[in-house]
């Protein structure tokens, strides 16, 4: 209502002040904003175009730049600093019991099918566990077993060997060594004392036949 009066009473603010105003509006606006919309918000008589030129210049070479999107304006992070907008978080996690057991079985019994792993562990193996080990590249798919259903087998990888500081699967401590190092109790095992893992693997393979009819 007193708009007209105001127009005559008050002159447009000085350019430096106009620039500040445009700066604040662009900063706070939730979307890029057109010259027109900026002008609507500024006191009468402001020169948005000129203020934008000044402002753009002011931000030249800064961490933020004034950009034109279609016919609207917005502040954006300088493209060369895009890498700062990525946060890398490193986490070290312990493998779950299921994962480490599954891994151990694959290492000692490879090539081994999922059904066999379940047989040995006595519980089913979740898809996630296998996926995680595959993702870590500690295991990979071996040849399919020539049994009904042609199940895939799993074997350990070079990455696995590197991670655990092994030169080959043969370096895995055998059952006897496990026992000697106190990791297994000293109860005499029924049947043949397995001297090395290979023998054991064979045994497991033999067993398979009557496991799966």
């Amino acid at each position: 209502m007193t708009k007209e009066q105001n127009d005559t009473l008050f002159e447009a603010p000085p350019m430096a002040e106009q620039e500040r105003m445009v700066e604040a509006i662009l900063f706070a606006s939730a979307e890029p904003i057109s010259k027109r919309a900026i002008a609507d918000r500024l006191p009468h008589g402001c020169d948005v175009s000129e203020a934008l030129v000044h402002l753009r210049k002011r931000y030249e070479g800064r961490g933020v730049k004034l950009v034109k999107v279609d016919d609207a304006w917005a502040f954006r992070t300088s493209p060369d600093l895009g890498f700062l907008m990525q946060k890398e978080r490193y986490e070290t996690r312990k493998l779950s019991r299921a994962a480490i057991e599954t891994l151990a079985i694959i290492a000692y019994h490879q090539p081994v099918t999922r059904a066999e792993i379940e047989e040995i562990r006595g519980v089913s193996v979740s898809r996630g566990t296998i996926d995680l080990l595959l993702e870590l590249e500690w295991i990979k798919l071996g040849r399919r077993r020539m049994t009904p259903g042609r199940p895939v087998t799993f074997v350990v990888t070079q990455v696995f060997l590197d991670h655990f500081g092994l030169e080959s699967e043969r370096d895995l401590p055998g059952v006897k060594e496990l026992r000697d190092s106190g990791l297994l109790d000293n109860r005499p095992a029924p049947g043949a004392l397995l001297e090395d893992t290979e023998a054991e693997v064979d045994l497991e393979n033999e067993d398979q036949d009557d496991m799966f009819e």
Partner: protein
Amino acid sequence: MTEPTQTEIEDFEQTTQERIASESLLVDVDGFEGPLDVLLTLARTQKVDLRKISVLELSEQYLKFVEEAKKLRIELAADYLVMAAWLAFLKSRLLLPPDPTEEGPSAEELAAHLAFQLERLEAMRRSAAKLMARDQMGRDFFARGIPEAVSQNRKITYNATILDLMQAYAYIKTKGNFEPLHMIERDRVFTMEQALGRMRTLIGHAIEWGDLNQFLPDGWRDDPKFRRSATASTFAASLELVKEGKLEIQQSELFAPIKLRTKRSQ
């Protein structure tokens, strides 16, 4: 609500205006935030530093306030009455010479604490007003309108040592005491792979519609736990084979036997 103004409270003391003023005060009883609030409002009439306030006078004003409320049959909350009783007690203690045998805090100490409480409440009110008068975000100043999301790249390293591995294996091996795995000790899980393998060899023989139960492996049909696992995996395996176009499956109604047969090639 509208808080009674200074003048309203002054009117409270004048006989002519007393009724009207007290009514306006009392009508607002609900608006008061408890007896301390009323006391503070009354205390303001004394126009002195709250520390130097006359608790005696304040007590009288408050008791009068409660009297008026009663006359007007306004229900007063218990805490207003508790305060009235306490102030009546304090007033008597303040008027009588101190009893040297009596233990506990003196009337002056109690009065001083009340003055402190009033001053503290007043101070908090002033501070609250100052706080709200500050520039506020979203009203006077603003945050970035188009924040740019920071993408999070999570890199997880899994840690396991050879010892973990050996211990895990040792654990598995000792669990079964090295006994060869018998059928009896086998876990009661007939896996999907097993079922699928079995079904693949069997479907060739299923020329006529046959009950799903017939396809369960020997040794898995009697014990309910075994049967449940075998049924589930055999059924799932059948669906898989239907998907592959090797098997047909049907069920006439809910809970009716599920029937299977080899898909006939046209």
